[in-house]
C-alpha cells in the first residue's frame, strides 16, 4: 500500500485500523533497526519502536504532507533515540563515556558480532561518536538515506551533514587502525 493511500485510509475512521496496521508492517523493520543501532539492546529498541508507533498513531491525523511520511517517521524515531540516550545520562548521572562504555559492553556481548573482529572494532568505533554524529553516520552508511532526506529528518543543512559524515568516517578509520596496532 502506498503512503498516500495509507494516509487517506487513516483519515477515515472506518479504515483507520487497517491503514495503521499496514503502516506498521511497512516501516517496522527499518525503524526498529534505526533505533536498535542507536541503543544496541533489543529490549530497549523494542520499547522505543513501540513508543514511536504510538506517537505516530496519536499525531498522524495532524501530519502535514510537506514532508514524506518516511522522513517524518524517521524524525520521530530519531528524536525518541536522542531523548532516550540523554534521559539515560540524566537518570543515572552518567557522563558521556559511561553510556558509551555501557553500549560498548552490549556490542561486545552481541552474538551477531562474535568471531568478526573487524566488524566488532567498527561497531565500537561508531559508539565513540557523539549521538548526533552517530545518527548521521548510521543513516548514511547503513540506511543509505540521501543527504536531502537526512536534512528533513534532522533539521540540519546538507553541507553540515556531509561534513559530519566525513569527520565520522575519519574518526572511525583512525580508531580501528589504532586498535589494530595495539593487538
Amino acid at each position: 500500500m502506498e503512503d498516500q493511500e495509507i494516509l487517506v485510509k487513516f483519515a477515515d475512521p472506518a479504515t483507520r485500523n487497517v491503514a495503521f496496521n499496514q503502516l506498521v508492517r511497512k516501516y517496522q523493520s527499518k525503524l526498529y533497526w534505526h533505533v536498535r543501532k542507536m541503543v544496541i539492546d533489543h529490549d530497549d529498541a523494542d520499547d522505543l519502536t513501540q513508543d514511536v508507533f504510538v506517537k505516530v498513531w496519536n499525531h498522524l491525523g495532524n501530519f502535514r504532507q510537506d514532508a514524506s511520511l518516511y522522513t517524518w517517521l524517521y524524525r520521530i524515531a530519531t528524536n525518541e533515540c536522542l531523548n532516550f540516550l540523554s534521559s539515560k545520562r540524566r537518570k543515572f548521572f552518567l557522563p558521556l563515556h559511561d553510556v558509551a562504555a555501557e553500549l560498548t559492553q552490549k556490542v561486545e556481548a552481541d552474538p551477531g558480532l562474535a568471531g568478526d573482529e573487524i566488524e566488532l572494532r567498527l561497531q565500537k568505533a561508531i559508539l565513540r561518536l557523539p549521538d548526533k554524529q552517530r545518527l548521521v553516520f548510521n543513516m548514511k552508511y547503513y540506511d543509505e538515506i540521501t543527504y536531502e532526506q537526512m536534512a528533513d529528518i534532522t533539521g540540519t543543512s546538507v553541507g553540515a551533514l556531509k561534513a559530519s559524515y566525513h569527520h565520522a568516517v575519519k574518526k572511525i578509520e583512525q580508531y580501528v587502525n589504532e586498535e589494530s596496532r595495539h593487538d
Binding site: V24, R25, R36, K37, D46, W57, D110, P111, I118, E119
Partner: protein
C-alpha cells in the same frame, strides 16, 4: 604489515547486530495495535456520540453548555444568607429581655470563635438597639460568670 582499515573497502553489513527473536516482526504489529486500541476505544467512547451529531446540533449543544455554565456560576455567586433587615431587628427588639435571657440560659448552645468569625462586620447601631447596659453592668455580669468555663 596490516593494510590500514578503510571504510570504503570494508564489506558493509546492513544489520550488523544479532537479529531480534524469530517471530518479532510478526507479533510487533499486534502489540502496537493493542497499545493504541485502548486509547482509540476510550476516545471513541468519549467523543463518538458527540461526533455522530450533526454540526448545527453540536453548535447548539455547545451554546447551551456555555450558557448553563454562566447561569450556574451566577447562582452560586449569590450570598447564601440574607443580611439582617430592619424587620428582623424590630422583631428582635420586641422580645422581652427576661424571655431572651431565659432562652439563652435554657439552651445548651455556646458561642465559639467560629461563630464570631462567621458573623458579618459588627454593626454598632444594631447592637445599640438591644444591648442597653452600662460598662459597669457588663463588668458585673462578666465577674459573676464562673471562671472554670470558657465560652470564647
Amino acid at each position: 604489515m596490516n593494510t590500514p582499515f578503510r571504510l570504503d573497502d570494508h564489506t558493509r553489513r546492513p544489520q550488523p547486530l544479532a537479529p531480534p527473536p524469530a517471530d518479532y516482526f510478526a507479533t510487533l504489529p499486534r502489540q502496537i495495535m493493542a497499545r493504541v486500541q485502548p486509547e482509540a476505544a476510550r476516545e471513541a467512547a468519549l467523543l463518538g456520540w458527540l461526533s455522530a451529531l450533526p454540526l448545527p446540533l453540536r453548535t447548539a449543544l455547545a451554546s447551551v453548555v456555555v450558557l448553563g455554565g454562566f447561569a450556574t456560576s451566577f447562582f452560586l455567586s449569590q450570598p447564601a444568607v440574607a443580611p439582617a433587615t430592619a424587620v428582623s431587628v424590630a422583631a428582635l427588639e420586641a422580645v422581652p429581655r427576661t424571655e431572651m435571657v431565659q432562652y439563652l440560659l435554657a439552651t445548651d448552645s455556646r458561642v465559639s470563635l467560629t461563630d464570631l468569625a462567621e458573623l458579618p462586620a459588627a454593626d454598632h447601631t444594631l447592637t445599640d438597639s438591644f444591648l442597653q447596659a452600662s460598662p459597669d453592668e457588663l463588668q458585673d455580669a462578666l465577674d459573676a460568670q464562673p471562671t472554670d468555663e470558657t465560652y470564647l
